[in-house]
């Protein structure tokens, strides 16, 4: 290996100090399988005990006080998508996070929805 300083990695270039999959104990498959990139997630106030949650789970709950997509959660967490999906599915199963209706994505948008989107795009 070359020892030229330009080959060294600093800060974010060096990658995370904790390997991404360590955050999810090596799990690469979400337990709740219907999360798409654009699925909306939102945290709700529950009486579940937060002390059993990791820092990342708690960060997601904080982020999702306003609805966000799965992709936004991953971006704000600086975590790969699959990691965000695994953590989110934990929270969905606990009841701390709810999602938009996944059947809508499966069937695709209808004319009424498309007209709203068209009007919205023209209005920005």
């Amino acid at each position: 290996m070359s020892s030229r300083s330009s080959d060294w990695w600093y800060d974010e270039a060096a990658g995370p100090l904790v390997r991404p999959y360590a955050l999810v104990s090596g799990r690469t498959r979400p337990t709740w399988g219907r999360l798409n990139l654009a699925t909306q997630v939102r945290s709700i106030r529950t009486s579940t005990d937060p002390s059993s949650l990791s820092v990342e789970h708690q960060e997601i709950i904080r982020l999702c006080r306003t609805p966000l997509s799965v992709a936004e959660v991953a971006a704000y967490l600086h975590a790969p998508l699959v990691v965000a999906k695994v953590l989110l599915s934990d929270l969905i199963q606990r009841g701390d996070v709810i999602t938009s209706d996944p059947s809508r994505l499966a069937t695709g948008p209808d004319l009424n929805l498309l007209q709203k989107v068209l009007d919205g795009v023209r209005a920005i």
Binding site: M1, D7, G15, P20, N36, L37, A38, T39, Q40, V41, R42, I44, R45, P67, S69, A71, E72, A74, A75, Y76, P80, L81, V82, A84, I98, T99, S100, D101, R104, L105, A106, T107, G108, P109, D110, L111, L113, L114, Q115, K116, V117, L118, D119, G120, V121, R122, I124
Partner: protein, 198 residues
């Protein structure tokens, strides 16, 4: 002060999301287009690739890294409190086709962005959306201001019929990009209409 009751209702609302995929070759201006219309600075999320991907990685300068990431840039437009539109840029490199299925699943439609110097960079994306029956428009990014080709010439070079809308645009310009998105949505609506009649 808003009443407690409306706050509770607000708490249960989870918006629906819709997607438009922005596809095209590397460096053609996908993220520029997304940034021109997005209400947030385009965000980047990454997916880690398995080792099969790293073996064929030819990116100079990153050979020392153990994992390869596929970067996705995306933006958002809040249509109203119930609907959010996301614009997802596809990874530019052809070897990331497998990501496109999740990206385009349930999408309203797609933009295939090309520039006149490398029209062939759009072939793969055009083929992908045609095969899957996903409504798409071809947007020709004329950022250098040169409109040196006619629409007929562009259609011939890209091998797209008049059934596919073709728009000239400037990916840096918000109004121009709004027109592109509107065309995608209108095209998707007309396809739904035809499907309802047939």
């Amino acid at each position: 002060m808003v009443s407690v009751r409306s706050e509770q209702r607000e708490e249960l609302l989870v918006p629906s999301s819709v997607k438009i995929v922005v596809a095209g070759g590397f460096g053609v201006g996908k993220t520029t287009l997304v940034g021109a219309v997005s209400e947030i600075t385009p965000l980047r999320t990454e997916e880690l690739l398995t080792e099969a991907g790293t073996e064929i990685d030819d990116l100079a300068g990153v050979e020392g890294k153990n994992t390869t990431t596929v970067a996705l840039d995306f933006g958002r437009i809040t249509i109203n409190p119930e609907v959010v539109l996301y614009l997802f840029g596809t990874p530019g490199q052809d070897r990331f086709w497998f990501m496109w299925d999740e990206l385009s699943h349930g999408a309203i439609g797609a933009v295939v962005l090309v520039d006149t110097r490398r029209l062939d960079s759009g072939f793969g994306a055009i083929d992908f959306f045609e095969r899957r029956g996903i409504p798409f428009v071809v947007a020709v990014n004329c950022f250098d201001g040169s409109h040196s080709y006619t629409e007929d010439e562009l259609r011939h070079a890209l091998d797209v019929t008049t059934n596919v809308p073709l728009v000239l645009c400037d990916a840096r310009d918000r109004e121009s990009c709004k027109v592109v998105l509107a065309r995608v949505i209108e095209h998707a609506m007309s396809k739904l209409d035809h499907a309802a009649i047939a």
